[in-house]
Protein backbone atom coordinates (compact mmCIF):
# COMPACT_ATOMS: atom_id res chain seq x y z
CA UNK A 1 0.00 0.00 0.00
CA UNK A 2 1.30 3.43 -0.90
CA UNK A 3 1.83 6.16 1.63
CA UNK A 4 0.08 8.47 -0.78
CA UNK A 5 -3.08 6.39 -0.38
CA UNK A 6 -2.89 6.75 3.41
CA UNK A 7 -2.46 10.49 3.02
CA UNK A 8 -5.39 10.63 0.66
CA UNK A 9 -7.85 8.79 2.89
CA UNK A 10 -6.64 10.87 5.79
CA UNK A 11 -7.38 14.10 3.96
CA UNK A 12 -10.81 12.89 3.00
CA UNK A 13 -11.42 11.50 6.50
CA UNK A 14 -12.78 13.18 9.60
CA UNK A 15 -10.51 13.95 12.52
CA UNK A 16 -12.14 12.36 15.58
CA UNK A 17 -9.50 12.57 18.24
CA UNK A 18 -6.25 14.30 19.06
CA UNK A 19 -4.79 12.25 21.90
CA UNK A 20 -1.70 12.10 24.07
CA UNK A 21 0.30 10.33 21.41
CA UNK A 22 -1.80 9.92 18.31
CA UNK A 23 -4.26 11.56 15.95
CA UNK A 24 -7.26 9.49 14.89
CA UNK A 25 -9.34 9.87 11.75
CA UNK A 26 -12.52 8.19 10.67
CA UNK A 27 -11.72 7.16 7.10
CA UNK A 28 -12.98 5.20 4.14
CA UNK A 29 -10.48 2.39 3.72
CA UNK A 30 -11.04 0.41 0.53
CA UNK A 31 -14.75 0.97 0.83
CA UNK A 32 -15.01 0.23 4.56
CA UNK A 33 -15.46 2.66 7.44
CA UNK A 34 -12.27 2.47 9.48
CA UNK A 35 -10.11 4.25 12.03
CA UNK A 36 -6.73 5.57 10.97
CA UNK A 37 -4.40 6.04 13.93
CA UNK A 38 -1.28 8.09 13.28
CA UNK A 39 1.39 8.38 15.93
CA UNK A 40 2.56 11.94 15.62
CA UNK A 41 5.83 13.38 16.71
CA UNK A 42 6.06 15.18 20.05
CA UNK A 43 7.75 18.53 20.06
CA UNK A 44 9.09 18.14 23.57
CA UNK A 45 10.82 14.86 22.82
CA UNK A 46 14.33 14.30 21.48
CA UNK A 47 13.99 13.49 17.76
CA UNK A 48 15.71 10.11 17.84
CA UNK A 49 13.86 8.96 20.93
CA UNK A 50 10.65 10.19 19.37
CA UNK A 51 11.11 8.20 16.15
CA UNK A 52 12.11 5.13 18.05
CA UNK A 53 9.10 5.21 20.37
CA UNK A 54 6.57 5.86 17.63
CA UNK A 55 7.80 3.03 15.48
CA UNK A 56 8.03 0.57 18.34
CA UNK A 57 4.58 1.36 19.66
CA UNK A 58 2.95 1.15 16.26
CA UNK A 59 4.50 -2.24 15.66
CA UNK A 60 3.53 -3.43 19.10
CA UNK A 61 -0.04 -2.23 18.84
CA UNK A 62 -0.42 -3.97 15.47
CA UNK A 63 1.03 -7.22 16.80
CA UNK A 64 -1.20 -7.27 19.80
CA UNK A 65 -4.35 -6.35 17.85
CA UNK A 66 -3.67 -9.29 15.58
CA UNK A 67 -3.03 -11.66 18.48
CA UNK A 68 -6.28 -10.54 20.12
CA UNK A 69 -8.24 -10.93 16.90
CA UNK A 70 -7.06 -14.53 16.58
CA UNK A 71 -8.22 -15.17 20.11
CA UNK A 72 -11.67 -13.63 19.82
CA UNK A 73 -10.92 -10.84 22.22
CA UNK A 74 -13.14 -7.75 21.94
CA UNK A 75 -10.75 -5.22 20.40
CA UNK A 76 -10.79 -3.48 17.01
CA UNK A 77 -9.72 -5.72 14.15
CA UNK A 78 -6.43 -4.81 12.56
CA UNK A 79 -6.79 -3.96 8.86
CA UNK A 80 -3.42 -2.56 7.96
CA UNK A 81 -0.18 -1.23 9.42
CA UNK A 82 2.52 1.02 7.94
CA UNK A 83 5.70 1.50 9.97
CA UNK A 84 7.11 4.23 7.76
CA UNK A 85 4.14 6.43 8.44
CA UNK A 86 3.55 5.03 11.96
CA UNK A 87 0.01 4.33 10.86
CA UNK A 88 -2.51 1.69 11.87
CA UNK A 89 -5.85 1.18 10.17
CA UNK A 90 -8.40 -0.72 12.22
CA UNK A 91 -12.05 -1.50 12.63
CA UNK A 92 -14.29 1.42 13.53
CA UNK A 93 -16.24 0.74 16.73
CA UNK A 94 -19.34 2.83 17.03
CA UNK A 95 -20.12 3.76 20.58
CA UNK A 96 -19.15 5.85 23.56
CA UNK A 97 -15.87 5.96 25.41
CA UNK A 98 -16.44 4.36 28.84
CA UNK A 99 -15.52 7.58 30.63
CA UNK A 100 -18.43 9.43 28.99
CA UNK A 101 -20.69 6.43 29.26
CA UNK A 102 -20.21 6.39 33.05
CA UNK A 103 -20.75 10.12 33.30
CA UNK A 104 -24.06 9.83 31.44
CA UNK A 105 -25.37 6.85 33.39
CA UNK A 106 -28.68 7.39 35.12
CA UNK A 107 -29.03 4.02 36.75
CA UNK A 108 -26.26 3.07 39.17
CA UNK A 109 -27.08 -0.66 38.81
CA UNK A 110 -25.29 -0.44 35.51
CA UNK A 111 -22.07 0.14 37.41
CA UNK A 112 -22.08 -3.47 38.58
CA UNK A 113 -22.50 -4.66 35.04
CA UNK A 114 -19.59 -2.48 33.95
CA UNK A 115 -17.45 -3.91 36.74
CA UNK A 116 -18.55 -7.39 35.78
CA UNK A 117 -17.85 -7.00 32.06
CA UNK A 118 -14.48 -5.37 32.60
CA UNK A 119 -13.54 -8.04 35.14
CA UNK A 120 -14.17 -10.68 32.48
CA UNK A 121 -12.47 -8.66 29.79
CA UNK A 122 -9.26 -8.01 31.72
CA UNK A 123 -9.12 -11.63 32.90
CA UNK A 124 -9.45 -12.75 29.28
CA UNK A 125 -6.71 -10.33 28.22
CA UNK A 126 -4.33 -11.47 30.96
CA UNK A 127 -5.08 -15.11 30.17
CA UNK A 128 -3.81 -14.36 26.68
CA UNK A 129 -0.61 -13.06 28.32
CA UNK A 130 -1.24 -9.50 27.25
CA UNK A 131 -0.71 -6.60 29.65
CA UNK A 132 -2.45 -3.43 28.52
CA UNK A 133 -0.50 -0.93 30.62
CA UNK A 134 -3.03 1.88 30.28
CA UNK A 135 -6.40 0.66 31.51
CA UNK A 136 -7.97 4.10 31.65
CA UNK A 137 -11.70 4.59 31.15
CA UNK A 138 -10.99 6.44 27.91
CA UNK A 139 -9.52 3.25 26.49
CA UNK A 140 -12.75 1.26 26.53
CA UNK A 141 -15.57 1.69 24.03
CA UNK A 142 -19.17 0.75 24.87
CA UNK A 143 -21.28 -0.02 21.81
CA UNK A 144 -25.04 0.42 21.35
CA UNK A 145 -25.48 -3.24 22.28
CA UNK A 146 -23.58 -2.42 25.50
CA UNK A 147 -20.66 -4.57 24.56
CA UNK A 148 -17.37 -3.32 25.93
CA UNK A 149 -14.26 -3.26 23.74
CA UNK A 150 -10.72 -2.45 24.71
CA UNK A 151 -8.59 -0.11 22.56
CA UNK A 152 -5.20 1.65 22.53
CA UNK A 153 -2.45 -0.96 22.85
CA UNK A 154 0.52 1.36 22.34
CA UNK A 155 1.95 0.67 25.80
CA UNK A 156 0.94 -2.97 25.88
CA UNK A 157 3.25 -5.94 26.05
CA UNK A 158 3.29 -9.71 26.21
CA UNK A 159 3.89 -11.08 29.69
CA UNK A 160 2.53 -13.80 31.93
CA UNK A 161 3.96 -12.32 35.12
CA UNK A 162 1.51 -11.76 37.92
CA UNK A 163 3.36 -8.61 38.96
CA UNK A 164 2.70 -7.00 35.61
CA UNK A 165 -0.93 -8.06 35.79
CA UNK A 166 -1.21 -6.50 39.23
CA UNK A 167 0.22 -3.24 37.91
CA UNK A 168 -2.41 -3.25 35.18
CA UNK A 169 -5.09 -3.48 37.85
CA UNK A 170 -3.39 -0.76 39.85
CA UNK A 171 -3.57 1.62 36.88
CA UNK A 172 -7.27 0.83 36.44
CA UNK A 173 -8.01 1.49 40.12
CA UNK A 174 -6.18 4.80 40.13
CA UNK A 175 -8.05 6.01 37.09
CA UNK A 176 -11.37 5.12 38.70
CA UNK A 177 -10.32 6.84 41.93
CA UNK A 178 -9.48 10.10 40.29
CA UNK A 179 -11.94 10.34 37.42
CA UNK A 180 -14.92 8.53 38.88
CA UNK A 181 -14.64 8.93 42.67
CA UNK A 182 -18.38 8.35 43.20
CA UNK A 183 -18.60 5.26 41.03
CA UNK A 184 -15.21 3.79 41.82
CA UNK A 185 -16.14 1.36 44.57
CA UNK A 186 -19.19 -0.08 42.85
CA UNK A 187 -17.26 -0.77 39.68
CA UNK A 188 -14.05 -1.93 41.29
CA UNK A 189 -15.48 -4.35 43.88
CA UNK A 190 -17.37 -6.27 41.21
CA UNK A 191 -14.38 -6.06 38.91
CA UNK A 192 -12.14 -7.72 41.49
CA UNK A 193 -14.62 -10.52 42.22
CA UNK A 194 -15.12 -11.37 38.57
CA UNK A 195 -11.45 -11.02 37.72
CA UNK A 196 -10.51 -13.34 40.57
CA UNK A 197 -12.92 -15.98 39.31
CA UNK A 198 -11.80 -15.82 35.70
CA UNK A 199 -8.10 -15.04 35.57
CA UNK A 200 -5.28 -17.55 35.78
CA UNK A 201 -2.98 -17.00 38.77
CA UNK A 202 -5.50 -14.52 40.09
CA UNK A 203 -4.55 -15.23 43.69
CA UNK A 204 -0.95 -14.14 43.19
CA UNK A 205 -2.03 -11.21 41.08
CA UNK A 206 -4.61 -9.91 43.53
CA UNK A 207 -2.37 -10.41 46.55
CA UNK A 208 0.38 -8.49 44.85
CA UNK A 209 -2.07 -5.80 43.80
CA UNK A 210 -3.14 -5.31 47.43
CA UNK A 211 0.47 -5.17 48.50
CA UNK A 212 1.14 -2.52 45.88
CA UNK A 213 -1.82 -0.41 46.83
CA UNK A 214 -0.96 -0.49 50.51
CA UNK A 215 2.68 0.31 50.04
CA UNK A 216 3.44 3.84 51.13
CA UNK A 217 5.69 4.13 48.12
CA UNK A 218 7.78 6.64 49.97
CA UNK A 219 11.29 6.11 48.81
CA UNK A 220 14.24 6.78 51.01
CA UNK A 221 16.14 9.59 49.45
CA UNK A 222 19.37 8.64 47.80
CA UNK A 223 22.28 10.90 48.31
Amino acid sequence: MEISYINEIMEKGRLIHRGAEAILYLVDFLGTKAILKLRTSKKYRNKELDNLLRRRRTAREANILYHLYKNNFPAPKLYYVNLERNAIIMEYLEGLVLKEYINKLENSDELYKIGYDIGKLVAHLHNLNVIHNDLATRNFIVTKEKRIYLIDFGLSMFSHEYKEKALDIDVFKRVLDVTHPDECDMIFDTFIQVYTKNALDSKETINFYYKLSKMGRYHIRGG
Binding site: A20, R45, V171, R174, R217, Y218, H219, R221, G222, G223
Partner: protein, 331 residues
Protein backbone atom coordinates in the same frame (compact mmCIF):
# COMPACT_ATOMS: atom_id res chain seq x y z
CA UNK B 1 -2.90 42.90 63.47
CA UNK B 2 -0.86 40.50 61.43
CA UNK B 3 -0.89 36.75 61.72
CA UNK B 4 2.47 35.00 61.81
CA UNK B 5 3.05 31.30 61.33
CA UNK B 6 6.34 29.52 61.81
CA UNK B 7 6.97 26.50 59.58
CA UNK B 8 9.53 23.81 60.38
CA UNK B 9 10.75 21.39 57.73
CA UNK B 10 13.00 18.42 58.46
CA UNK B 11 12.03 15.38 56.38
CA UNK B 12 15.50 14.63 55.03
CA UNK B 13 18.68 16.62 54.49
CA UNK B 14 17.25 20.10 55.03
CA UNK B 15 16.35 21.81 58.27
CA UNK B 16 14.27 24.76 57.16
CA UNK B 17 12.35 27.32 59.16
CA UNK B 18 10.30 30.17 57.81
CA UNK B 19 7.76 32.74 58.91
CA UNK B 20 4.88 33.79 56.70
CA UNK B 21 2.09 36.26 57.36
CA UNK B 22 -1.62 36.08 56.54
CA UNK B 23 -1.05 37.63 53.11
CA UNK B 24 1.39 34.82 52.38
CA UNK B 25 4.36 37.16 52.48
CA UNK B 26 7.53 35.26 53.21
CA UNK B 27 9.15 37.17 56.07
CA UNK B 28 12.06 34.80 56.47
CA UNK B 29 13.28 31.51 55.03
CA UNK B 30 16.36 29.99 56.64
CA UNK B 31 17.86 26.60 55.89
CA UNK B 32 20.78 24.41 56.64
CA UNK B 33 21.47 21.49 54.35
CA UNK B 34 23.34 18.32 55.29
CA UNK B 35 25.78 17.25 52.59
CA UNK B 36 26.83 13.61 52.73
CA UNK B 37 30.32 12.66 51.73
CA UNK B 38 31.00 12.02 48.06
CA UNK B 39 31.03 8.28 48.11
CA UNK B 40 28.24 7.54 50.54
CA UNK B 41 24.56 8.28 50.40
CA UNK B 42 22.61 10.12 53.04
CA UNK B 43 22.97 8.50 56.47
CA UNK B 44 19.79 9.39 58.38
CA UNK B 45 21.52 9.47 61.77
CA UNK B 46 24.38 11.58 60.51
CA UNK B 47 21.92 13.92 58.89
CA UNK B 48 19.80 14.14 62.03
CA UNK B 49 22.84 14.93 64.15
CA UNK B 50 23.82 17.67 61.76
CA UNK B 51 20.30 19.12 61.73
CA UNK B 52 20.06 19.10 65.51
CA UNK B 53 23.31 21.04 65.80
CA UNK B 54 21.95 23.71 63.45
CA UNK B 55 18.54 24.01 65.08
CA UNK B 56 19.34 26.83 67.51
CA UNK B 57 21.00 28.93 64.85
CA UNK B 58 18.25 28.39 62.26
CA UNK B 59 15.54 29.33 64.76
CA UNK B 60 17.25 32.55 65.85
CA UNK B 61 17.96 33.58 62.28
CA UNK B 62 14.37 32.89 61.26
CA UNK B 63 13.05 35.27 63.93
CA UNK B 64 15.72 37.87 63.30
CA UNK B 65 15.28 37.99 59.53
CA UNK B 66 11.53 38.32 59.94
CA UNK B 67 11.90 40.94 62.70
CA UNK B 68 9.40 38.97 64.72
CA UNK B 69 9.62 37.82 68.34
CA UNK B 70 8.54 34.40 69.54
CA UNK B 71 5.61 36.02 71.30
CA UNK B 72 4.33 37.47 68.00
CA UNK B 73 3.99 34.02 66.44
CA UNK B 74 0.40 32.78 66.25
CA UNK B 75 0.94 29.17 65.25
CA UNK B 76 3.62 26.61 64.57
CA UNK B 77 3.55 24.05 61.77
CA UNK B 78 5.94 21.16 61.29
CA UNK B 79 6.43 18.47 58.69
CA UNK B 80 5.02 15.31 60.22
CA UNK B 81 6.12 13.11 57.30
CA UNK B 82 6.80 11.29 55.14
CA UNK B 83 10.56 11.16 55.48
CA UNK B 84 13.51 9.79 57.34
CA UNK B 85 12.66 8.97 60.96
CA UNK B 86 15.69 10.49 62.69
CA UNK B 87 15.37 13.73 60.69
CA UNK B 88 11.61 14.00 61.18
CA UNK B 89 12.11 13.60 64.93
CA UNK B 90 14.33 16.70 65.05
CA UNK B 91 11.64 18.91 63.52
CA UNK B 92 8.87 17.40 65.62
CA UNK B 93 10.91 17.84 68.80
CA UNK B 94 11.62 21.50 68.06
CA UNK B 95 7.94 22.04 67.26
CA UNK B 96 6.76 20.41 70.49
CA UNK B 97 9.29 22.31 72.53
CA UNK B 98 8.29 25.69 71.12
CA UNK B 99 4.60 24.89 71.37
CA UNK B 100 4.84 23.99 75.08
CA UNK B 101 7.26 26.66 76.05
CA UNK B 102 5.42 29.54 74.38
CA UNK B 103 1.93 28.06 74.41
CA UNK B 104 1.30 28.17 70.65
CA UNK B 105 -1.09 25.96 68.63
CA UNK B 106 0.65 23.23 66.72
CA UNK B 107 -0.21 21.92 63.21
CA UNK B 108 1.22 18.82 61.54
CA UNK B 109 1.75 19.12 57.78
CA UNK B 110 2.29 16.53 55.05
CA UNK B 111 5.56 17.41 53.34
CA UNK B 112 4.27 16.82 49.79
CA UNK B 113 1.15 18.87 50.44
CA UNK B 114 3.53 21.64 51.44
CA UNK B 115 5.31 21.49 48.08
CA UNK B 116 2.04 21.35 46.18
CA UNK B 117 0.13 24.03 48.08
CA UNK B 118 3.07 26.42 47.99
CA UNK B 119 3.08 26.57 44.20
CA UNK B 120 -0.72 26.60 44.05
CA UNK B 121 -1.00 29.50 46.50
CA UNK B 122 1.99 31.38 45.12
CA UNK B 123 0.33 31.69 41.70
CA UNK B 124 -3.24 31.47 42.95
CA UNK B 125 -4.00 28.50 40.69
CA UNK B 126 -7.50 27.14 40.39
CA UNK B 127 -7.23 23.52 39.30
CA UNK B 128 -3.66 22.65 38.37
CA UNK B 129 -2.23 19.28 37.43
CA UNK B 130 0.70 19.18 39.84
CA UNK B 131 3.90 17.34 39.02
CA UNK B 132 5.97 16.86 42.16
CA UNK B 133 9.52 15.78 41.49
CA UNK B 134 11.95 15.67 44.39
CA UNK B 135 14.29 13.31 46.16
CA UNK B 136 11.40 11.77 48.07
CA UNK B 137 8.54 11.97 45.57
CA UNK B 138 7.80 11.62 41.91
CA UNK B 139 4.08 11.96 41.41
CA UNK B 140 1.36 13.50 39.33
CA UNK B 141 -1.54 14.82 41.33
CA UNK B 142 -4.85 16.59 40.92
CA UNK B 143 -7.32 17.81 43.54
CA UNK B 144 -10.76 16.13 43.74
CA UNK B 145 -13.17 15.57 46.62
CA UNK B 146 -10.94 17.22 49.24
CA UNK B 147 -7.87 15.20 48.45
CA UNK B 148 -4.77 15.54 46.36
CA UNK B 149 -5.27 12.32 44.43
CA UNK B 150 -2.21 10.60 43.12
CA UNK B 151 -2.88 10.07 39.46
CA UNK B 152 0.51 8.67 38.59
CA UNK B 153 3.78 8.06 40.36
CA UNK B 154 7.02 6.17 40.29
CA UNK B 155 6.69 2.50 41.11
CA UNK B 156 10.31 2.20 42.19
CA UNK B 157 12.88 4.98 42.69
CA UNK B 158 12.18 8.70 42.34
CA UNK B 159 13.44 10.97 39.60
CA UNK B 160 15.58 12.77 42.19
CA UNK B 161 17.08 9.44 43.27
CA UNK B 162 17.78 8.53 39.67
CA UNK B 163 19.76 11.69 39.02
CA UNK B 164 21.56 11.62 42.37
CA UNK B 165 22.50 7.96 42.10
CA UNK B 166 23.75 8.38 38.55
CA UNK B 167 25.81 11.39 39.61
CA UNK B 168 27.29 9.42 42.47
CA UNK B 169 28.18 6.49 40.21
CA UNK B 170 30.06 8.75 37.83
CA UNK B 171 31.71 10.63 40.69
CA UNK B 172 29.86 13.93 40.56
CA UNK B 173 28.83 14.15 44.22
CA UNK B 174 25.64 15.30 45.91
CA UNK B 175 23.21 16.73 44.98
CA UNK B 176 23.55 15.34 41.51
CA UNK B 177 20.64 16.99 39.73
CA UNK B 178 22.26 20.32 38.84
CA UNK B 179 25.53 18.62 37.86
CA UNK B 180 23.82 16.12 35.58
CA UNK B 181 21.87 18.99 34.03
CA UNK B 182 25.03 20.92 33.26
CA UNK B 183 26.73 17.86 31.79
CA UNK B 184 23.68 16.97 29.70
CA UNK B 185 23.50 20.46 28.22
CA UNK B 186 26.84 19.74 26.54
CA UNK B 187 25.80 16.37 25.13
CA UNK B 188 24.79 15.91 21.51
CA UNK B 189 23.97 12.30 20.86
CA UNK B 190 21.01 10.26 22.09
CA UNK B 191 21.79 6.72 23.26
CA UNK B 192 18.83 4.40 23.61
CA UNK B 193 17.84 3.57 27.21
CA UNK B 194 14.91 1.66 28.75
CA UNK B 195 11.71 3.69 28.65
CA UNK B 196 9.12 2.28 31.06
CA UNK B 197 5.68 3.76 31.44
CA UNK B 198 2.53 2.04 32.69
CA UNK B 199 -0.41 4.29 31.99
CA UNK B 200 0.52 7.24 34.15
CA UNK B 201 3.00 5.35 36.35
CA UNK B 202 6.73 5.21 35.86
CA UNK B 203 9.68 2.96 36.57
CA UNK B 204 13.21 4.33 36.69
CA UNK B 205 15.33 1.60 38.25
CA UNK B 206 15.89 -0.32 34.99
CA UNK B 207 16.99 2.94 33.42
CA UNK B 208 19.48 3.55 36.21
CA UNK B 209 20.98 0.06 35.99
CA UNK B 210 21.27 0.35 32.25
CA UNK B 211 22.91 3.77 32.13
CA UNK B 212 25.39 2.82 34.85
CA UNK B 213 26.38 -0.34 32.98
CA UNK B 214 26.86 1.67 29.77
CA UNK B 215 29.05 4.10 31.69
CA UNK B 216 31.21 1.23 32.93
CA UNK B 217 31.70 0.00 29.38
CA UNK B 218 33.51 3.22 28.66
CA UNK B 219 32.30 3.61 25.07
CA UNK B 220 30.11 6.68 25.43
CA UNK B 221 30.97 10.13 26.68
CA UNK B 222 29.56 11.23 30.02
CA UNK B 223 27.88 14.18 28.32
CA UNK B 224 25.94 11.93 25.97
CA UNK B 225 25.00 9.55 28.75
CA UNK B 226 23.74 12.44 30.88
CA UNK B 227 21.79 13.82 27.95
CA UNK B 228 20.25 10.44 27.18
CA UNK B 229 19.37 9.82 30.79
CA UNK B 230 17.60 13.16 31.10
CA UNK B 231 15.83 12.91 27.76
CA UNK B 232 14.53 9.44 28.56
CA UNK B 233 13.48 10.04 32.15
CA UNK B 234 11.93 13.46 31.47
CA UNK B 235 10.08 12.25 28.37
CA UNK B 236 8.57 9.47 30.47
CA UNK B 237 7.40 11.98 33.06
CA UNK B 238 6.04 14.45 30.49
CA UNK B 239 4.25 11.67 28.65
CA UNK B 240 2.67 10.39 31.88
CA UNK B 241 1.60 13.94 32.70
CA UNK B 242 0.08 14.38 29.26
CA UNK B 243 -1.81 11.12 29.65
CA UNK B 244 -3.10 12.31 33.01
CA UNK B 245 -4.26 15.58 31.43
CA UNK B 246 -6.32 13.80 28.81
CA UNK B 247 -8.27 12.08 31.58
CA UNK B 248 -8.71 15.15 33.81
CA UNK B 249 -9.97 18.73 33.46
CA UNK B 250 -7.10 20.78 34.78
CA UNK B 251 -6.76 24.42 33.79
CA UNK B 252 -3.01 24.72 34.35
CA UNK B 253 0.12 22.71 35.05
CA UNK B 254 2.44 23.23 38.02
CA UNK B 255 5.78 21.58 38.56
CA UNK B 256 7.52 21.63 41.92
CA UNK B 257 10.12 19.84 44.07
CA UNK B 258 13.89 19.99 43.65
CA UNK B 259 14.00 18.51 40.14
CA UNK B 260 11.55 21.20 38.95
CA UNK B 261 14.57 23.51 38.87
CA UNK B 262 15.89 21.59 35.87
CA UNK B 263 15.44 23.90 32.88
CA UNK B 264 15.29 21.11 30.33
CA UNK B 265 12.42 19.43 32.16
CA UNK B 266 10.64 22.75 32.48
CA UNK B 267 11.09 23.50 28.76
CA UNK B 268 9.66 20.11 27.83
CA UNK B 269 6.63 20.65 30.06
CA UNK B 270 6.07 24.09 28.55
CA UNK B 271 6.09 22.58 25.05
CA UNK B 272 3.66 19.89 26.11
CA UNK B 273 1.44 22.44 27.87
CA UNK B 274 1.29 24.67 24.79
CA UNK B 275 -0.28 21.86 22.82
CA UNK B 276 -3.11 21.79 25.34
CA UNK B 277 -3.31 25.56 25.75
CA UNK B 278 -2.13 25.25 29.35
CA UNK B 279 0.40 27.42 31.12
CA UNK B 280 3.13 25.76 33.17
CA UNK B 281 3.94 27.31 36.54
CA UNK B 282 7.06 26.83 38.56
CA UNK B 283 8.30 28.59 41.67
CA UNK B 284 11.49 30.66 41.87
CA UNK B 285 14.15 27.96 41.99
CA UNK B 286 14.94 28.47 45.64
CA UNK B 287 11.42 27.48 46.65
CA UNK B 288 11.48 24.19 44.75
CA UNK B 289 13.85 22.58 47.24
CA UNK B 290 12.68 21.57 50.71
CA UNK B 291 12.01 24.63 52.85
CA UNK B 292 10.11 25.89 55.88
CA UNK B 293 7.85 28.13 53.76
CA UNK B 294 5.95 25.18 52.29
CA UNK B 295 5.14 24.01 55.81
CA UNK B 296 4.30 27.49 57.08
CA UNK B 297 1.78 28.26 54.31
CA UNK B 298 -0.17 25.07 54.98
CA UNK B 299 -0.03 25.77 58.73
CA UNK B 300 -1.34 29.26 58.05
CA UNK B 301 -4.30 27.90 56.06
CA UNK B 302 -5.10 25.42 58.83
CA UNK B 303 -4.88 28.10 61.50
CA UNK B 304 -7.06 30.55 59.55
CA UNK B 305 -9.66 27.83 58.87
CA UNK B 306 -9.91 27.01 62.57
CA UNK B 307 -8.62 23.49 62.16
CA UNK B 308 -8.17 21.83 65.54
CA UNK B 309 -4.47 21.96 66.46
CA UNK B 310 -2.80 18.79 67.79
CA UNK B 311 -1.88 18.31 71.43
CA UNK B 312 1.80 18.07 72.11
CA UNK B 313 1.53 14.36 72.96
CA UNK B 314 -0.07 13.70 69.58
CA UNK B 315 2.53 15.63 67.63
CA UNK B 316 4.14 12.47 66.33
CA UNK B 317 5.89 11.69 63.07
CA UNK B 318 4.85 9.47 60.16
CA UNK B 319 7.73 8.09 58.15
CA UNK B 320 5.33 6.61 55.63
CA UNK B 321 2.30 8.64 54.77
CA UNK B 322 0.54 8.72 51.46
CA UNK B 323 -0.45 12.06 50.00
CA UNK B 324 -3.98 10.89 49.23
CA UNK B 325 -4.58 9.83 52.84
CA UNK B 326 -4.76 13.47 53.86
CA UNK B 327 -8.17 15.06 53.85
CA UNK B 328 -7.76 18.73 53.05
CA UNK B 329 -10.42 20.33 55.23
CA UNK B 330 -8.97 23.79 55.27
CA UNK B 331 -9.33 24.79 51.63
Amino acid sequence: MSTYVLGIESTAHTLGMAIVDEKLNILSDVREVYRPSRSLGIDPHDAAEYLSKKAGYVFKETLKKASVTVEDIDAIAYSMGPGLGPCLRIGATIARLLSCKYNKPLYPVHHAIGHIELVRLYYNLNNPLVILVSGGHTLISSFTNNRWRVYGETLDITLGNLLDMFAREIGLGFPGGPKVEELASKGSRYIELPYTIKGTNLQFSGLLTNVVSLYKKNIYTLKDLALSLQETAFSMLVEASERALTQLNNDSIAVTGGVASNDRLYAMLVEMGEEHGLKVYRLPKRLNSDNGVQIAVVGLKMYLSNVEPVDVENAIIKQRWRLDEVEVVWR
